[in-house]
Amino acid sequence: MATENISMTKSTSRFVLTLRGIWKGLQELAELIFASPTAVIGLVVVLAWVFVAIFAPLITTYSPLEQDYKNINQKPTAAHVLGTDNLGRDVWTRVAYGARTILSLGPISVFVAFLIGLALGLPAGYYQGWVDELIMRILDALMAFPTILLYMIIISAVGASPFNVVIAIAIGGAPGIARLVRALTMDIRTREYVAAAKLRGDSDIMIMLREILPNSRGPLIVDFLLRIGYAAFYIGTLGFLGLGLPPPTPDWGGMVQEGHGRMSANIWPVLSATMAIVTLVIGLNMFADGLREESMRYQ
């Protein structure tokens, strides 16, 4: 019993310490962010969209699919702050729910891309030699694909669905991530703590995951943020090209695609969705850029 208690206290204290560590890390991050006006503006914009996405049902009065056929193509009014589209749906509601689409698909696809990128980049950078050569050649081949072409081919082969959009963006993004991870790994693997880990007989996977990965997180986080921006950009583009989510899913790119043919009659759906994409992408870019510049400034 007594030993249990001790180990309890120990694990509790460890937990507290970990928490404290995380808190400290967050504090430092916040300090970093608030040092850069660019990052702050970016963060505000992104958080605003995150807020809109999370609370979409609370801050809108309609359903995104609700069609009011007696009021189509309305200009902004008190009842419809951004007007209605050609099917009489409230544009603001669709924009708000569209934020949900893009802010869930974007991070998910980038996350999947990171999983693939890590799975390729870590071994390539760590083992080098023929493993690296092989993986690099595959990556070269993947990189040679203009991303949008990859999307077009994948989506033409398997059709458009949220899942496929995620897969397409993930495959498109993975080579870049893998190269970054590889470069970071090649750098970190020469650090002596990696040698130290080898000298306690740690397995390669253990070393990659415990020694290398946590120490490449800085650039990876910045890259992650930037890539969410690109993903939002691409999800919008896919929607616009008609390769995105099937209607009537509220999807910003899709809204532009649906609306731009009748733009001269009703510009509001296009304008709203366009501004949404532009602000989100710029916000994410500003946030990532500011963070990167600030973290490099006083090195």
Binding site: T3, K10, G21, E192, L199, R200, G201, P214, N215
Partner: protein
Amino acid sequence: MDDSSPILSVKNLAVTYKTRKRDIDAVRDVSFDIYRGENLGLVGESGCGKSTAAYSIVNFLGPNGRVKSGEILFKGEQLRNRSEADLRKLRGADISMVYQEPMSALNPSMQIRDQLAESLIAHRGFNQKDAFAESLEALRKVYMPDAEGVMQRYPHQLSGGQQQRVLIAMAMLNNPSLLIMDEPTTALDVTVEAAVLDLIAELQKKYNTATLYISHNLGVVARVSDKVAVMYAGEIVELAPTREIFHNPMHPYTMGLMRCLPDVDAPKGTRTLHPIEGRVPSPANLPAGCIFAPRCQHAEPECLAGHPHLKEISPGHQVRCFRAWDWTAVKENWKTEDLVPLKESCPDRNGNTEENVLNVKNAKVYYPVPFKTVGGLFGMEKRSYVRASDDVSFSVKRGRTLGIVGESGCGKSTIAKAIVGLEPLFGGQIDFLNVDVSKPLNKRGIDTIRDLQMVFQDPNGVLNPSYSVGDQIAFSLRRFGTVPPDQIRAEVERLLQAVKLDESYYNRLPRQLSGGEKQRVGIARAISTNPAMVVCDEPVSALDVSVQAAVLNLLLEIQNTRNTTMILISHDLSSVRFFADEVAVMYLGHIMEIGSCESIFQPPNHPYTTALLAAVPRADPDAPHSNIRLSGHVPSAVKPPSGCKFNTRCPFKIGAICEQEEPSKRDMGAGHLIYCHLTPEDLKNKII
């Protein structure tokens, strides 16, 4: 102006930097004069504000820095608050600089001749042809081999020594009145450093240039400077003529710096080192009172309260210390006090010396060179190798230390890594505790891995920044299961104590530690499994001198208490002398000479050893200077020269035999082996 007034006179200089949080005074109250032909050495540990002080002279402090107060008089004229256009006329003409990292100080995409010539064109209106001619002349003045060839080259095609010569030539082009040299030899190998220092000394004599020479290395300053200013945390704490400061230091910091240096002439066990406890305070967090007081052994309450000013206590000798004049008695034997007869302190050092813990036989470590053509992948190109370590044999006895010395790239680290299994062996054999360990780590048994640990060089790389100190040591304990899980924390704390860190370090993250502390944790981790042997790869070379001493002491203590066998890889002969029992001298992957520490540091020696020894800067202005210098640079390890590997640079080359035949080993007795065609007599005579 006449020679009696200083070329440069800095008075009460203060420099401040804007940071995210607030302004930080990096340099405060710095005053010094430099006269024509004089060389002022500015020494101090890293982060003491030496470079800041130097750059403030040419007002080059970056966007965040500015001179806050004080005067900078150059030839009697105020340089502060001068316009950029005015300064530009001085920069590179009357005041020029030489930098620490010659590689990055040169434009990578410009030929050397253009980089040299533009200085002449800008300041003296030369046309290009004349400028090239003058530049070539300048290169010749710095004894640049193949000066014409170098003119056409790009920086990356030159060796570090050549690059530094280019920078010196560039600085001298316009016959400056003041030359500022910012650690010009720090990035260079010891043999190259020696040659560059010779050059600097010669040029100074020849052109009578006033020089501000910044270095962290007391030995270097002792060699070139007429006057030395010791900086500490942004202030000059002592300023005196070189001889005076080395023989009669007045400030406890200056004394501390000298007391912590290992002496290349003192054999192992004859003296111990006195590290300065604590660390240099950051300029953002200065202590009240005397800035050195928290680390000073002699601090009194008044030291903690008031801030001392620089006082002249004898002509030309200024000290910033309240007690500089009243502890004359203490400093009678300041250098040798606390001398502990180390040999007696560890009785079993000589107990089982005959047992070889490690036997290395003809070890080869080759790295394949990446194929230049795709055809290589299909066997159409002959594979070539970097022969990092070629045919190396030695053995280490239990409880002893083998030192391996040599310039960078000689293969000493490679062989160390091969021993612990971090590099695969290309040929040869390594036996450890009578087990064949000629295989990489993942093929070795867990016991072998546990028994053969390593201490690393770079304090910033030695610890994983993501985990706490305790965790990193605990990883090893868990992995090897040396202690039951519930005792791991206690064991880690015990280990921390063993490396003189208290248990509060357990939860610290590496970035909260100083370099020396990190290195201690690294040592704690290496000894956590109680290994039979520890390979130390340049354990102190990246540390400040005051910290070096502590770490070296610690290693020695660990060896004495645990009877650990060690290999010390180092380019610093002083550390090796301090710590090693046997020494191997390596050059281009080959052992040139091996033997007991005593025999290596005394003639007869291999010519290469001789050159190395001659190059060691001694922190004593009166130490005899040897003129033996190496010319040329280290040949490629892909295509090593035939015959004796050293023949291309050997000052005692006797002829064709050196180029054609690989020298056989010459046994000089008592295990002292020399690989040279010279006879023992020649080795002895020629060198002395």
